[in-house]
């Protein structure tokens, strides 16, 4: 699964991973893992991130060809 969190973070006044982590109630390591694609967030966390970044979940996360 690919994601565009990094892109939308920068579009949101260059929001840092730390701020996004604090707003979503997770650790910065979790945000890093999600951005790297090594951890798939739950629907709840994905919705939270999408709401904070002002986009839809579909804009943030897209399935890979092999998914």
């Amino acid at each position: 699964m690919k994601n565009s969190i990094r892109k939308y973070r920068f579009l949101q006044n260059e929001m840092t991973q730390q701020i996004l982590a604090e707003k979503t109630g997770v650790t910065r390591q979790t945000i890093i893992a999600i951005e790297k694609g090594s951890f798939n967030p739950s629907v709840k966390l994905a919705l939270k991130i999408a709401r904070i970044l002002g986009v839809s979940v579909e804009q943030l996360f897209t399935l890979d060809l092999h998914d």
């Binding site: 979790t30 999600i34 951890f39 967030p41 739950s42």
Partner: protein, 225 residues
């Protein structure tokens, strides 16, 4: 707060290792309460509904526990095999208890977490009925004693067949069977405490859990209707 938790976790592990290293020189009346308190601390955290861990950390925590369980099983198997070959006799019964109880618990919890109580109880009931029949056949063959000892098997089998249509009756039947087995193990069989614990976990406990789950399921279904 999160940094403090990490420091506390490292400190906890350090104290546990230290206590284990010093165990030989510490009197038992000091050692045992300290170990109980130390090992109970991580358990308390599991019961805290407001966990300090986020979903990825919880995932990591569960994954590491899962891997640790299998490492522990590997170590127990290693000890069992080594003991067997070095002394050429069956290892003490507590090794079997330590090996099997966590595995039975994991198996049952996975079933109830993955499937409905009805399906889980059917599987567990069917499994234990088969184990009982196999045990009786292997120990006595086809004889009168065998017929007498097959009664619990028949009762479990009837309860399993009743699960879908009469979950409440099946639930109570499981509870009665579990209570009967508890009394049987306690009153008629003279077993070592470790073997007794193992037997309780292998037979009455799964039936007890199935019984409670089926009664709970029936109550919930009636409430929804």
């Amino acid at each position: 707060m999160k940094k403090l938790m990490n420091v506390l976790k490292s400190l906890w592990l350090l104290v546990v290792v230290l206590i284990v290293m010093l165990a030989a020189g510490v009197p038992l009346w000091i050692l045992i309460p300290i170990l109980i308190i130390l090992l109970a601390v991580p358990l308390l955290r599991e019961f805290n509904p407001r966990s300090d861990l986020d979903e990825r950390q919880l995932y990591i925590s569960r994954l590491t526990s899962h891997v640790s369980l299998y490492v522990m099983n590997g170590l127990i198997l290693f000890v069992l095999i080594r003991e067997y070959f070095s002394h050429n006799q069956q290892p003490p019964s507590y090794w079997y208890m330590i090996l099997l109880i966590p595995l039975v618990l994991k198996f049952m919890m996975s079933l109830f977490e993955n499937y409905s109580p009805v399906l889980a109880a059917q599987w567990i009931g069917g499994f234990f009925a088969s184990v009982w029949l196999l045990f009786v056949l292997l120990s006595h063959g086809f004889s009168l004693t065998n017929l007498m000892e097959s009664v619990p098997f028949l009762l479990i089998l009837v309860s399993v067949l009743l699960i879908r249509k009469r979950p409440l009756i099946a639930g109570f039947a499981f509870l009665i069977l579990a209570a009967g087995l508890l009394i049987f193990f306690r009153a008629w069989l003279s077993m070592d405490v470790y073997v007794r614990l193992l037997m309780y976990t292998l037979l009455p406990m799964p039936l007890l859990i199935c019984g409670v789950a089926l009664i709970w399921h029936h109550k919930k279904e009636r409430k929804e209707q």
